[in-house]
Point group: C2
Chain length 398, copies 2
């Protein structure tokens, strides 16, 4: 393989921008559209690597932000990198650390050189900018690494849900939201130049650029144009799922995805629910990551084709059925009943999270399998029948 990543599109959809493909990395390949489970601290919570693999997952995420703070990116490098460290032999992608710094730090400063925040591990001041983010990700050693971007909350303030309030110290306080978005876009473009220069392992780590612009489609277009000046191995749509409404996510993705280079994989960061994924695939997105299947598992939420269920609900106390009798995951075929899982949840047994996460990840991977099948066959009718709760007509052609 020449270069760190190869992408081939093997089929396209006639009724949408969806495409079927495969990405090859130095640690093996994955089929697209792909869903990537999140292994924040170099571990998909509660699951052994082979269990993650058994859900049909072919590539996973690690979080640069968490690993740079603990055990430290240099320590991961000394362990032989993230694959060897966590014993996952397939492809891995790391985020740049920027988004997590924005959303998790209690106090941070944002200026042209990056962000400063308090470590959630020991409270020390930590500086993170384009050069340091590249160093961190070069050390961690994932197959795909992300540009360091400026990712403000999207949409109007009244649309922002659950995104922590931030304090900036370089004059942005009080700027109109649109100016903040434009500023973030422009800074992201400048930072990408610095990331490309700082990236020390371009032959075995594929650097993806990130498009910003919030919910402003003009800004999105400008960002696409500027970011894609670099002939990078892949591109991501960032600044979505940061608090805006699902319709806004759909609109931004439908607008942005088709404008990205067709011959490169397109990654929609941090999205999302099944419906969001289907829309994004039909807009032309190839890669997804989200904590929902694993995080919600620990909070008793199971995903099924007829909707989500809270397994702590008293109505499951005497329910001997598996979470989803049509599911082929290890939990559902293993005969673990809703009643048993509810008992483990009530008893605070970590096995509950493992059982539900196994099911949830398989649920998302079966969604991706069915999506890939629909694109391959250029026929969404079987998909519509198999996922009756999901609307597949919302993603506009562009």
């Amino acid at each position: 393989m020449s270069g760190p990543l190869r992408f081939e599109v093997s089929a396209t959809c006639s009724e949408s921008n969806a495409r079927l493909g495969r990405v090859e990395t130095p640690h093996g390949g994955f089929d697209t559209p792909a869903f990537m489970p999140v292994g924040t601290q170099s571990c998909v919570k509660g699951l052994w690597p082979h269990q993650v693999e058994e859900t049909g997952s072919q590539i996973i995420l690690n979080n640069a932000y968490h690993l740079m703070l603990r055990p430290g990116d240099a320590a991961v490098a000394r362990r032989g990198g993230c694959h060897q460290f966590m014993r996952w032999s397939g492809p891995i992608l790391t985020d740049s650390g920027g988004y997590q710094a924005y959303s998790m730090a209690h106090i941070n400063r944002l200026d042209e050189d990056g962000v400063r925040f308090r470590s959630i591990v020991d409270g020390a001041w930590v500086d993170l900018g384009p050069e340091r983010s590249m160093e961190v990700q070069n050390n961690i050693g994932a197959d795909i690494i992300m540009a360091f971007d400026d990712c403000p909350p999207a949409g109007d303030p009244q649309d922002v849900v659950g995104f922590r309030k931030r304090v900036t110290t370089d004059g942005h306080r009080g700027l109109a939201h649109h100016e903040r978005l434009r500023d973030a876009h422009e800074r992201t473009v400048r930072w990408l130049d610095r990331c490309v220069k700082a990236h020390q392992r371009p032959t075995d780590q594929a650097l993806f650029g990130i498009v910003q612009g919030g919910t402003d489609l003009e800004l999105r277009a400008a960002s696409v144009e500027a970011i894609c000046q670099h002939d990078l191995p892949g591109f991501a749509v960032g600044g979505v799922a940061v608090g805006e409404r699902p319709e806004q996510i759909a609109e931004v993705v439908a607008f942005t995805a088709p404008r990205l280079p067709a011959q490169k994989p397109r990654y929609l960061m941090g999205v999302g629910y099944e419906q969001d994924i289907v829309h994004a695939v039909r807009s032309g997105i190839d890669m997804f990551d989200c904590v929902l299947p694993t995080r919600n598992a620990r909070n008793a939420q199971a995903f099924t084709r007829s909707g989500r269920m809270n397994l702590k609900n008293a109505k499951f106390a005497e329910d001997d059925a598996p979470i989803d009798s049509s599911c082929d995951c290890a939990t559902c075929t293993g005969g673990y009943s809703r009643a048993y899982i509810r008992h483990l949840l009530n008893a605070s047994e970590s096995m509950a999270g493992s059982l539900v996460a196994t099911h949830n990840l398989r649920h998302f991977q079966r969604l991706m399998l069915d999506i890939r099948r629909a694109i391959r066959d250029n026929d969404w009718s079987a998909f519509r029948a198999g996922w009756p709760e999901l609307r597949t007509d919302l993603a506009p052609l562009s």
Copy 2:
């Protein structure tokens, strides 16, 4: 199989009372001497049943006390019993609930009809006595069930470590310790009569009697004689590992075990460390249970043949070796390093507990394998070489 349990001794040791055997139950057999992992709430913490099986474990415990409180023993019965509930197809043993009631309840009353304590789940008053314990265990449906016994802290007050202070309301407060022990022994004998009468499933659940008597060997002898009046499928040595010194445990076990019927399995409850197990095997004990391998795993303690290690220790931060390079468990052969496990422990990832518990259980099962081999070959030299830290000369012949 006639009756709920069959036991056959296939070899005996010429230099000690150790014997090699096999127990058959309605859910399959297990080789003795056997170590039984504890699945308190119908789950060996952090491990799927097949992972427990892969450590070489052939029989596990469930705790009647916990399951009667949550989800309720009748609910477990409606789920088809504990095997179906937790998806463990092999043999299961339940304790009577008495010991846990004594040691966990904040307030309890002890009289001829049993104990009264506050539920740790909802604070309600709960009564547990011989008849109710049998009902609970009949409902849970384990292959081996235990008589409801009176289990006071052993030894002199100054020897009692880590056993919660109890309040009794039937005049025992202020009794000399010896009188309390005698009383417990006599009550245990009377309760056994009631258990035998109350046991509703004698054809498929094997009821084991429990010998009490604390550290008083005369009382132990009297207890053995009285308890063994019942021709039960097996007998247990109770009232050990309740706070006394290891030497006292060894003395009591060496005295008591050989006095129990030779043709029935002998079970030493709640013991213990490797050294204790070896001594007890050489005294004639066939079955062991202990929470050490799983509980200590969650607290970062790994067992190895050269001693225990605390994996949180800073010295492991850059240690790429497995916990024990001579170990054949899934954790050690899977390449998970001490550094990685330490990272997961520091990051509060439940996978750390799963990785270490897997190793620790395998450690104990390899101990049992080597013990069984030594008895089979009537030769402890290979055992002594393989477990240099353990003394095998301390168990007296009797």
